[in-house]
Amino acid sequence: MLSRSERIALRVQEGVSHGLILLTYYSLEAWLRSRGYRIPDLRRVRREFETEMGPGPGPWLICANHLTLIDSLVIQWAMAPGWRLFLRRDRFAWNLPDRHNISRTWWLRVLGYIGKCVPVLRQGPPEEVRRTLEKAAFLLSGAQTVMIFPEGGRSRVGRVDRDQVTYGAGRLLLDVPGTQVLCVYARGVGQKDYGDYPRRGERFFIRAARLEAQTAMTGMRGARDLATQIVAKLSEMEAEYFEVVDR
């Protein structure tokens, strides 16, 4: 259970983030574009997100594959334009990045704060991971959107890595009933392996699909079952991607 001060801190962060969202969003979009990154057919991709998520309220748990440090930025860019996120603040997703990555420099820490990041210590003590998940559950219970990478980190094999799946996503679904799941497969077309940043000029393939994840199990078994369904869906989306690419 989060303390009152922790809940207030998250609300303050949400407020600050919303106040700066246009500046944050368009600055980051400019940076992404300056590196030559593009999402071909961006309008169609955004329509896909709108169709899958519908106009109703959340909570939404966005579950994506993970290959580079900026996957969440690219996905957020693909989801909606900045003005739309200003109007629908609940659609500007919270992220759970690795604390080591987000605390490298002071400006990354600031960016992480206004970018709605709740750092998590990967491979950290279970109680600390649980604490982060409690924060994510609190945000979901307030109909917010949370983005999570069920593989627990960037895939070292360059593909959706079922062996590395963590069960945090499943636990969140159990802890916050009514949470809807949106699976997102995002990949630079030249991305062969995992890395820090996509190559300059990269074009991104992005697909979104809603998943009706269900389980009759509870506790750790239920969390595992749900997380396994999510990763299976991501694998399926990946297979579709490579089917098109290899054709």
Partner: protein
């Protein structure tokens, strides 16, 4: 079930998840599952569920969090499988 039997079964269950196989040759009760054996923390859930299946016990989240070493695992299993008085 005695301590040694439980320890042996714990080792058998954890073995497939161990990355640091060199450390696996000198394990003891103090051996830390994540730090020393290189087990991915996400796989601890699989290990705990395997304990539940193997020993017919129920492990809640708090008890699972307390399992840091092989000795912790054995102690938890011994407590949960001990006949009630």
């Amino acid at each position: 079930m005695d301590n040694t039997t439980a320890f042996g079964k714990v080792i058998d269950i954890i073995k497939p998840f161990v990355k640091n196989t060199a450390a696996f040759g000198t394990v003891g009760h103090e051996t830390r599952i994540i730090e020393d054996l290189g087990v991915n923390s996400a796989r601890l859930v699989d290990i705990i569920l395997a304990f539940e299946d193997e020993f017919g016990i129920q492990v809640d989240d708090e008890a699972a969090d307390r399992v840091r070493t092989l000795g912790d695992a054995v102690q938890m299993i011994m407590q949960k499988t001990a006949p009630a008085h």
